[in-house]
């Protein structure tokens, strides 16, 4: 898993450092159709975070982790919106995931008054929003008069102070004189307040009369996990204790829409 992540990141870095400057050196084409738009744009769109990964240490019990939805919103600044090659920076707010789990406990492991064969807990939790600033290299290719395809790659710094979260599932006996905590999950984000990530993406731009509209698919790979933690299944009637580690990379696939207004006519 780590090897795949490393591979992807290194491919991205190679694209950023070697490939892009070489191509860049070949041309500094300008697109007249894009000259009339402002450098600033508003950015927003949904994102889908990768599911968390479990690393069981002992025991047979485990649980499911689901991908989580989030959002990106903010603004971007394209240094040369009318050029084939440019750089983009900006400021993005995102909703950060913590967990989205489905935990199943077998009937024989809890008090006898439960009638279902399998008891299920579905829970999800988001942390505070993060603030991030990307610096991206962007290539624009004209497809038709008003349509452009673009590719982008670069780095992003995210401000996300450290924090922790926990989830537990407790069962009571029929007359509520006794309780057993059978499942617990405790996670925490890294100690450092800033986290780095690698960004890669592609999309298209459509130039309308008053607006330059862009839609991009991006994939963001963090240099370190967004959340680390551990889980424990315990106090069950039949099954033995299970324990393991929880790792949420915080990597995500994002659909990013951005809109830049046309300048007033006297400005261009």
């Amino acid at each position: 898993m780590v090897n795949r992540k490393t591979m992807l990141t290194m491919v991205g870095l190679i694209l950023t450092v070697v490939f892009a400057p070489e191509i860049f050196a070949q041309s500094t084409i300008e697109y007249y159709a894009l000259k009339k738009y402002r450098k600033w744009g508003i950015v927003a769109g949904p994102i889908l975070y990768d599911r968390a990964v479990l690393e069981p240490q002992y025991g047979d019990y485990t649980f499911d982790n689901k991908p989580m939805w989030g959002f990106n919103a903010g603004f971007e600044y394209d240094f040369y919106p009318d050029k084939k090659w440019s750089f983009i920076t900006g400021f993005i707010v995102a909703l950060e995931p913590v967990y989205k789990v489905r935990v199943n406990i077998k009937k024989e492991d809890v008090y006898s008054h439960f009638e279902e064969d399998v008891l299920t807990l579905d829970e999800k939790y988001y942390a505070m929003t993060s603030f991030s600033a990307p610096i991206l290299l962007r290539l624009n290719l004209q497809i038709s008069k008003r349509i452009f395809v673009n590719f982008r790659t670069g780095l992003k710094a995210m401000y996300f102070p450290d924090g922790s979260a926990s989830l537990s599932w407790t069962f009571h006996n029929e007359d509520e004189t006794e309780a057993r905590e059978v499942f617990g999950l405790r996670v925490e984000s890294p100690y450092n307040w800033f986290q780095g990530s690698f960004v890669i993406g592609t999309g298209c731009s459509y130039a309308t009369k008053k607006l330059l509209f862009k839609a991009n698919m991006i994939y963001v790979m963090n240099f370190q996990n967004a959340m680390d933690g551990e889980y424990l299944f315990d106090n069950m009637f039949v099954s033995a204790r299970s324990r393991g580690y929880y790792k949420l990379s915080g990597n995500y696939l994002g659909l990013v829409f951005s809109a830049s207004l046309a300048k007033k006519k006297d400005k261009w």
Binding site: V2, T6, T9, M10, L13, T16, V17, P21, F24, A25, K39, Y77, F79, W85, F87, T89, G90, F91, A133, I135, L137, G154, L155, K156, A157, Y159, P190, Y191, N192, W193, F194, Q195, G196, S197, F198, F223, Q224, N225
Partner: protein, 267 residues
Amino acid sequence: MVKKSGLLKTMVGIFLTIIITSGVYAQADKEYYTLKKYRKWGLVAGPALYNRAEIYRQYGDYTFENKPMLGFNAGFEYDFYPDRKWSFITGLVIALEPVYNVHYHIKIEDIYSHFEEDLIDSFTSYSMSSFSTPILIRLNIQMKEKVFISFLSGFKVKFFPPYEALLIYSISNEDNTESREIFGLNLHSHDNLFHGSFVIGSGISIAMKKVLLKTNFIYVMNFQNTFEGEYQFGNLLTSPPTRGDYELSGNYLGLVFTVSLAKRKDK
């Protein structure tokens, strides 16, 4: 205090990068004719001075001193618009990563009686080299015909696989029949292979006939510590054990020399 100060600096840097540069940039797309003749690629090299490690004592009275460490940066850079007032720089840089530079002082009453004075010693260690790629925004301001001042700001990603280091110091009695481990330092870098950092800097460029020579001071602030771990003084004859945490940020002040050749005339 250390954390807050680092955070403040980084936030100020990010603020400068995003807001100020973008705003100022919008005012001018100036080009410098003098710089048109140089290549976009340049060779980079220079010394780096890493900040001293911090220690946080948990219990006990002993402590030790951490000194700043010298390293180096070497590689190449690519300036997308060398002749423009505003440009972007990327590249590939190799650096020697520090682990520890410790100086400690053990009192004579805590060691075997054949020692005639306090035990004072120091150890330095570097880990493997790291590979990093910056993405920097660069502002060039012309001072004279051939002299420019530049300001840099941006991010850097560093490839630095997990690494562990251990320093153990033992002393033996006079006839070597007994030994005591009196100091230990156990360190590790983070599990992640890539580390992010914020870069800020300033310098001067001199346009010569065949080369463009740039000299920049940069300060690199890592998003996470390069090394963390713990230290222990123990098995001392008189003093009780001492234990604490060790943190090396890996932040450094670098002096970076860059040389870009002039293009051939037919180009």
